[in-house]
């Protein structure tokens, strides 16, 4: 499945989008296998239960993203197949159609024809439940159906179907009741169900907000019945979960090629069969149905009338005399969502948008009503501050021509009021805008706080700038203070540079510098005092060496010595003997001194 949305104006279609797990109850088993000393020593296992639940007997209206034909719409929909768009993209495939596919059977298929497989086989299991949707969209004409609200789920389906649903008692739902014969002729078969549901991914960039917030995935369920012109219809999204009694493997026969469509109710030629009492009523497909019991000449017309009124394709039931009653088998289905529309006139999207009256703002339907100037202003009556009625001009923000933008800043609504030179009346457009903005802002408590915060922050900044200016004027600083830079470092650098100005040498650990500045040690003063011939002479008298006054002195050159080793030293017996002799002499000398 693609995760990037399709390009603008395109859509992707998917056969189905199945959830990793269909809705059901599940058990999760945790087993830890440990092998200790070569022998298995399994830890205690644990189990947990969880349910996956989705919409089942009711569908929240918010899950329906759109329907076609439009809800309560009027229009020429006779060439359109109804459809429902579900914003929950996995919904049609979230539940399995049935746990007993064998009850439906396998559709007859042509070997050469690529076929959708509603129940693809899974290894290890005879049959698994694949993408056959559990939803169908059925279309019924007004009068063909009955709606029921809050009926017990148990009462609307056969007991075995109810048992397979595995639900608690007491669940109620909405249902739709239709005659079984009609339902048979409308309900899609197994393969058809699969073909009538798919998923789409569309690009939502250019949509209004409700759609633009979604991810663009939708599930779509189509109907299979075309509305007839001039009739009123209800489209019904129904649940077929476990309805193996209704869903067939194969659809009814195709209409005979010679029998042109257009006749809504082929069963209306019922008269021919009914006229011969006791005979079997024949379907177009040629299948004999239940016999209608002889009703006699008098009641026949009434029965026929009833049959026609009820729009029954073929009546199934028994007429009992007297009173005559026709029993018609009906079926109820769980109704998830339904809407009505009428198939009259024209009313497609194309018809609507082509009929639209197009013009610029300020165009009125009828000349002069309301009176509007070519600038888009309309006159209005307001009560002025003196309580007098006054005629003023007003124009909203939507204007028919580009305007220059007023760069001024306004602080009150009064400031925005203008008098028009042409009419002498006031123009309150901008004053009204100012008040609208003020009222909207005032109704939002958080905005008030934020405005205060915004101002407080600015005031703080302003105070900081002020104090920086004060520091700047009080202390002669080398640099200008800035609000984005630390103050302390600028001030410190400035102060330190002032203090160190004029000091030649900071480090004089032994006071040599101070001593050398004593009058008696200054060669030029000495020369003057003692009347010497030159400063050099005085310097020579003072010791002459510049090292004495802390100047740098070059070290004398070192005497070069040959490289020697310990072995050579040990081998030099002459020198060692000399050293020994000298040591002995020193020891003797010390002993003599101690004794004396």
């Amino acid at each position: 499945m693609s995760t990037t949305p399709p390009p603008v104006g395109s859509m992707y279609l998917f056969d189905d989008i199945t959830p990793p797990l269909v809705d059901n109850s599940y058990r999760l088993d945790v087993v830890t296998n440990v092998t200790y000393d070569g022998a298995p020593a399994n830890l205690a296992s644990n189990s947990g239960y969880f349910n996956i639940e989705g919409p089942r007997f009711t569908l929240p209206a918010t899950d329906v993203a759109g329907v076609f034909p439009p809800r309560n719409g009027h229009g020429g929909f006779d060439e359109n197949i109804p459809q429902i768009v579900i914003s929950r993209r996995t919904l049609p495939w979230e539940r399995r159609l049935t746990s007993r596919p064998d009850l439906i059977g396998t559709p007859k298929r042509d070997a050469n024809d690529p076929q959708p497989n509603p129940f693809p086989p899974v290894e290890g299991q005879p049959q698994e439940y694949g993408p056959a949707p559990w939803l169908a969209l059925l279309l019924f004409e007004e009068g063909e159906y009955k709606l029921h609200q809050n009926v017990a789920l148990k009462s609307i389906m056969p007991a075995d179907v109810y048992a397979r649903l595995e639900v608690a008692d007491g669940i109620t739902c909405d249902s739709i009741e239709v005659e079984e014969s009609l339902l048979d002729s409308v309900l899609p078969s197994l393969d058809e169900l699969t073909l009538l549901a798919h998923a789409r991914q569309v690009n939502v960039n250019d949509r209004e907000l409700n759609a633009a917030r979604t991810d663009g995935y939708y599930a779509i369920v189509m109907g299979n019945r075309l509305p007839a012109p001039g009739a009123k219809y209800r489209a019904c999204l129904v649940s077929l979960e476990e309805r193996t009694d209704l869903v067939k493997a194969d659809p009814p026969a195709v209409a005979h090629p010679l029998f042109r469509p257009g006749l809504e109710n082929p069963g209306l030629n019922l008269r021919a069969e009914i006229a011969a009492p006791g005979s079997a009523v024949m379907l177009d497909s040629g299948t004999p149905q239940q016999t209608l019991i002889n009703v006699g000449d008098t009641a026949e017309s009434r029965i026929l009338q009833t049959v026609q009124d009820r729009n029954v394709a073929y009546a199934i039931g028994v007429v009992q005399a007297p009173p005559y009653q026709i029993y018609i088998l009906t079926q109820q289905l769980v109704l998830l969502h339904s809407w009505q529309f009428e198939c009259t006139g024209t009313g497609t999207f194309r018809d609507y948008v082509q009929r639209i009256n197009v013009s610029m703002t300020g165009t009125v339907e009828e000349q002069g009503h309301p009176p509007i100037t070519d600038t888009g202003h309309i006159p209005m009556t307001v009560m002025d501050r003196a309580g007098v009625q006054e005629s003023v001009w007003y124009r909203g923000p939507l204007v028919p021509m580009p305007l220059t933008r007023d760069p001024l800043t306004y602080h009150s609504a009064d400031q925005c009021r203008r008098v028009t030179p042409e009419t002498g009346a006031e123009d309150i457009s901008y004053a009204a805008a100012f008040e609208a903005g003020r009222l909207m802002a005032a109704s939002d408590p958080r905005l008030g706080q934020e405005l205060m915060r915004w101002r407080r922050e600015s005031y703080r900044q302003s105070v900081r700038t002020d104090s920086l200016l004060a520091i700047q004027s009080a202390i002669p600083l080398a640099e200008t203070l800035e609000i984005h830079r630390p103050v302390a470092s600028v001030v410190a650098v400035s102060a330190a540079s002032h203090m160190v100005t004029g000091i030649s040498q900071v480090g004089d650990r032994y006071g040599v510098g101070a001593v050398s500045r004593a009058p008696g040690l200054d060669p030029s003063q000495l020369q003057a005092a003692w009347n010497l011939s030159s400063v050099e002479e005085a310097t020579a008298i003072l010791g002459g060496s510049p090292g004495a006054t802390g100047a740098t002195v070059a070290a004398p050159a070192q005497t070069a010595r040959p490289v020697t080793t310990l072995n050579e030293v040990a081998a030099d017996t002459t020198s060692l003997n000399l050293l020994q002799t000298t040591r002995d002499q020193v020891l003797t000398g010390v002993q003599l001194k101690l004794e004396s």
Binding site: P6, P7, V8, F14, D15, D16, G66, P70, E79, P107, P116, D184, P188, L195, L196, V202, A212, R213, I220, L226, P227, P251, P252, V254, A255, R260, G262, P266, F349, V353, I356, S359, M360, H369, P370, T375, I378, R395, P397, L398, P400, M401, P402, L403, T404, R405, D406, T409, H411, S412, T420, Y430, A433, A436, G437, A441, L451, S458, P486, A488
Partner: protein
């Protein structure tokens, strides 16, 4: 006498000790995010009562579309009014006056992210940091109000504005079409049957397109029977022998028991069978390809060449004619008149 809670020396010490006065990343007129958000929504008239927009119902009758320019002065006043809340003295007024240009400049930028936020695609800070880099000046804002059954019936239609007249047929995802598409600043339903759209820039062409997820399935009547067109894998009709205007089609099979019920299984079989003669027809392997085969392409309505009075109007459009007065005064003829008047009566 009340003793001050902080002495000037202490204040100075505090100021000196503070490592930094203001982060460099913080511009001086930075608004709190919520405030910026609120004001930029105001700029696009979000939440403004409808009566302010259309003061008289007759200005927007049923089944009509009205194009407009957005009056920037009006929305600026809206913002001025909102900032006026809590303005109690000269201090606030001076503050507003000093910051107004920067506020308007910032809002010119942030009004462009409103739709991104409304769609919930990004957080405000992310959207803002991406958008503030693009400091293009404020553009003209245009738009339309549409009151129609088309809005209530097809609320999720596609709406696009183009700055040039892109000729049909075109693919909206095409690079050329995309480069001409205007940014949609706002696209919202004000009520179930009323849509407002705002574009950044002036459109030469606005199109409304049927919603794609609601693209319907359809048949057409030919020779008294319902027929379906054959379509290729991209949903396009297949012309007969290269002629345009004539397309491959076939009869729609229906059930014998009910002539308005489509025999879907048979239809699918026929779709596949006809590929022997029309090989480009989409093969039906599942519901998605079946949907391609029976869908109607979305209808695209074009609104082009809307009356554009830009530049043809001599007035500034408002009664506030100060600019015009200045212009008139500066005109040579006016000056000449004045001189004549002064010459004849002034003495």
């Amino acid at each position: 006498m009340r003793t001050p809670w902080i002495h000037s020396s202490a204040a100075l010490k505090e100021r000196l000790r503070r490592p930094i006065q203001l982060e460099t990343s913080e511009p001086e007129s930075e608004m709190p995010p919520y405030m910026e958000l609120f004001l930029s929504h105001l700029r696009l008239l979000v939440g403004v009562p409808f009566d302010y927009l259309v003061p008289d119902d007759r200005l927007l009758p049923d089944e009509s579309i009205r194009f407009f320019y957005l009056d920037r002065s009006w929305t600026d006043r809206l913002v001025d009014g909102a900032i006026a809340v809590g303005k109690i003295g000269t201090r606030e007024q001076a503050h507003h006056h000093g910051h107004a240009p920067a506020v308007h400049q910032q809002l010119d930028l942030s009004e462009r992210v409103v739709r991104t936020l409304q769609r919930g695609l990004m957080s405000f800070t992310d959207a803002k940091s991406g958008n503030d880099g693009n400091a293009a000046p404020a553009d003209v804002i245009t738009g339309f109000l549409l009151r129609s059954s088309a809005v209530s019936g097809w609320p999720q239609m596609d709406v696009r504005g183009y700055r040039t007249d892109v000729s049909e047929p075109f693919d909206p995802s095409d690079a050329k079409a995309l480069s001409q598409q205007l940014t949609t600043l706002r696209l919202e339903l004000l009520s179930p049957g009323l849509m407002i759209a705002l574009f950044q820039g002036m459109p030469q062409l606005v199109i409304l397109e049927e919603p794609h997820h609601g693209v319907q399935f359809g048949v057409h009547l030919g020779n008294g029977v319902n027929r379906v067109y054959l379509r290729d894998a991209t949903g396009h009709q297949i012309p007969i022998g290269g002629h345009s205007g004539f397309y491959q089609e076939m009869d729609l099979p229906v059930r014998a028991s009910n002539s308005r019920v489509v025999h879907v299984a048979e239809l699918r079989r026929r779709f596949n069978a006809i590929r022997a003669t029309v090989p480009t027809a989409v093969p039906i392997t599942g519901s998605a390809s079946f949907a391609i085969a029976v869908l109607d392409p979305p209808w695209r309505q074009r609104f082009e060449g809307t009356v554009d009075q830009a530049g043809t109007q001599a007035t500034s459009g408002g009664f506030v004619a100060h600019i015009n007065i200045a212009e008139r005064v500066a005109q040579n003829t006016t000056l000449e008149e004045v001189r004549n008047l002064v010459a004849t009566h002034g003495a």
